[in-house]
Amino acid sequence: MKNAPSIDDQVEMYRKMIACRRVEEAFGTLSKEGRTRGPIHRCDGQEAVGIGATAMLTDEDYITSTHRGHAHYIGKGVDIYGISAEILGRKTGLCGGRAGHMLIADPAKGMIGGNAIVGAGIPAATGMALSNQILKNGRVAMTLFGDGSSQTGIWHESMNMAALWKLPVVFVLEHNEYGLTVHSDRQGSTKDISERAASYGIPTEIVDGNDALAVYRAVSTMVERARRGEGPGFVECKTYRWEGFSTSDMGGYQDPEVIAEWKKRDPIKIAYDQLVGEVGAEKLDQIERDTSADVRDAIERALADPLPEFEICNYTAPYSGEVH
C-alpha cells in the first residue's frame, strides 16, 4: 500500500510506543513521589501521533516539539536515558540539566527542540524549512503542536508563509481536545482546525490520532510532497489526553466516562492488533518485556546520576574585554 510503513518499521513504532508509555508511567510515579522537579506533562494515550508522524524522518530532518514532547523525542530517535536524566535535572542529561523537562533538545538527532512557549515551535519549524529551501538540502522540517497552540497568532503567520513560499514543512496537529484545562470547543470557533489550514491553500488530512499506521500514512504523504518541493502539508490527528494537563493538574473538568471511552482505544492496543497477525503475539510480548526493562534501567541509571555543578555563562556577559 502506498506510504505504508514496512512491517519492520511498524514493529519499531510499536517498540517506541511501549517505551514512551513506560516513560510516562514512570515519571507519573516519580512525580507523585516528589522525585521530579516541576510537573510532568504526560502523553499517555497520544503516543501514536508523535511516533507515527516521525517514523519516516531521518536524523537530517528537523522536528520542533512542545511541553508535551516525550513521544516526539522518542519517535525522532532520542536516547531515553538522556531524556530521563534531563527531566531529572542530572549532569548526564541531554542538556546537562540546563533545559529541563519542557525544553529538551538533541541537535544530533534533528530534534530542536521542546518549547514551553505555546505555539513557538510552529514558526521555528517554518524557519528551518526556509533554511532547507535556501540550502536546497532536501531536508524536511516538521512541527508537532496542540489544538491550544493553534489559536496563537504565529500559527497563522507561519501557515501563510509556508504556503506562500512552498516551504518543506509538515504541520502535525496533535488534537487532544484540551489546551490546559479548557476544552477546544471553548478555545476555538472551528471544530476541525485543518479547515483553517486549508484556507491557506495547504493540503490537509484528518486522521485517527490513536492509529499510528494512519498517522504514518497521512504524514508520509505530506513529507514526500514537501521533500519534492511541492510545499507544506497539514495533518490533524484526533486524539485525547488521558492524564490531565500535567502531574500538578487538580482535575475536575474532564469527564471520566469520556476518558474511559478513549482508553478503550489505546494506541498501543491498536498497533498490537494491527501487527499480531503478521509477527505473532510472542514477538510482540517479548518486545514489550525487553523495552519495559530497558526503560526501567535507563531511568534508574539516571536517578543515580549526580546533579550538575554551576558554572557562570561567559558568552552572555554584558561587558566586552576584561570583564566577564
Binding site: 535535572g89 540546563r98 525544553l103 505555546v118 505555539g119 489546551g179 490546559l180 557562570i312 552572555t316 556577559a317
Partner: protein, 325 residues
C-alpha cells in the same frame, strides 16, 4: 483579622471589586472553569457567570490589545497572563497602544485595565517560565507597575489597581501564592499605588527590594543583625511610580544602599534604582550602591543550577557587607 494565603487575598479582592462594580470583568487562560492555574479566580465563574469571567484561547497578543480597548469603552478588564515570561507577547499592546493613547488623544480617553501576571524563579520551571521581566513594563510611560508581597498588600493594591483610571501591571510571584499573612477584611484595605513600605527600620544600610526579593531581604537583615549590622528593609511595592521620597529618606539615614531585583542585572530594574539613587542621593552615599540580581544568563532548570543564579539572603547580606566595607 484573618490569616490568609496570598492567592486567597487576591481572590477576595477580585470578588469585592466585581461585586462593587459591574463593569469589572476577568479574562485569561484557564481562569474560569479551573479557577486559574494558581487558583486566584477560584469560584468566580460560578458567582459572576461566563460573561464576566471568561476562559480564553491562547492568544496573549490580541487579549492584551483587547484589554486596552475594552478599558477605553466602558469596562474595567482584569486580564491574567499566566507567566511574566509571556509579557513580550503583550508588549506591543502596552508600549505602542496603552502607553500613548491618553496623551496623544489629549486626555479624551482613559484605560482602566489591570494586567495580572506572575514571574520569578525557584520552582524549577526553566528558562521560559521563571523570568521576572519586570523592567520591560516598568520602562513604559503611562503604565503603573506594582508588585505586592504580603497578602494584605495583594488585596489592597489589587483593589486600588482595579479602581485606578490608568493601566496597572500587577506582578505576582509563583512562590508567594501560598504564603500567609494577616488581612483585615473589615476594612476596605486599599493601598495607595506609589508608596513603599518599611518592612523593618534600620540605621546602617538600606535594602530596597521588589516582589519576592523582599522576603529574602528580610532574611538577609536577620543574618546581618547577627553581625551587628542594622539593615533597613524597604519593600518598594510600586515599581512605577517609584516612591523616591521613601528612598531618599532611608539613604539619608543609612548612607549605604543595596538594591535587590530578581531580573537580569544589565539594563534591569536594579540599574534604574542604582541610577535614581545616584541622581538624587549621590552626596549622601558613602559607597556605591550594590546591585543584587540574577546574573546575565538564561535561568537553568536543575535545582543546583537554578539556586546558584537566584538572588538570596546570603547574596544580599554579602552585598550589604561589601557596601559597608
Amino acid at each position: 483579622m484573618a490569616k490568609l494565603r496570598y492567592a486567597e487575598a487576591l481572590n477576595i479582592a477580585l470578588r469585592e471589586e466585581m461585586t462593587r462594580d459591574p463593569s469589572v470583568f476577568l479574562f485569561g487562560e484557564d481562569i474560569g472553569t479551573y479557577g486559574g492555574v494558581f487558583k486566584v479566580s477560584k469560584g468566580l465563574l460560578e458567582e459572576f457567570g461566563d460573561q464576566r469571567v471568561r476562559d480564553t484561547p491562547i492568544s496573549e497578543q490580541a487579549l492584551t490589545a483587547m484589554a486596552v480597548s475594552a478599558a477605553m469603552t466602558g469596562t474595567r478588564p482584569v486580564l491574567e497572563i499566566m507567566y511574566a515570561d509571556f509579557l513580550p507577547l503583550s508588549l506591543d499592546a502596552l508600549v505602542n497602544q496603552a502607553s500613548i493613547y491618553e496623551y496623544i488623544w489629549k486626555e479624551k480617553v482613559q484605560m482602566p485595565f489591570v494586567l495580572r501576571t506572575q514571574g520569578g524563579g525557584g520552582a524549577g520551571a526553566g528558562a521560559q517560565h521563571s523570568k521576572a521581566l519586570d523592567v520591560l513594563v516598568a520602562h513604559i510611560p503611562g503604565l503603573q507597575v506594582v508588585a505586592p508581597v504580603t497578602p494584605a498588600d495583594a488585596r489592597g493594591l489589587l483593589k486600588a489597581a482595579i479602581r485606578d483610571p490608568r493601566p496597572v501591571i500587577f506582578l505576582e510571584h509563583k512562590l508567594l501564592y501560598n504564603m500567609r499573612g494577616e488581612v483585615d477584611l473589615d476594612s476596605e484595605g486599599l493601598v495607595e499605588i506609589g508608596k513603599a513600605r518599611t518592612v523593618q527600620p534600620g540605621t546602617d544600610v538600606s535594602i530596597f527590594a521588589t516582589s519576592k526579593m523582599v522576603i529574602d531581604a528580610e532574611k538577609a537583615a536577620e543574618l546581618l543583625a547577627k553581625d551587628g549590622i542594622s539593615a533597613e528593609v524597604i519593600d518598594l511595592r510600586s515599581l512605577r511610580p517609584l516612591d523616591l521620597g521613601a528612598i531618599k529618606a532611608s539613604i539619608a539615614k543609612t548612607n549605604h544602599a543595596v538594591v535587590v531585583n530578581e531580573g537580569w542585572r544589565f539594563c534591569g530594574y536594579a540599574a534604574e534604582l542604582s541610577a535614581t539613587i545616584m541622581d538624587h542621593a549621590f552626596d549622601e552615599l558613602d559607597a556605591p550602591v550594590e546591585r543584587v540580581t540574577l546574573p546575565d544568563m538564561p535561568i537553568p532548570y536543575s535545582e543546583t543550577l537554578e539556586a546558584s543564579v537566584l538572588p538570596n539572603a546570603e547574596k544580599i547580606a554579602a552585598a550589604a557587607k561589601k557596601t559597608l566595607a
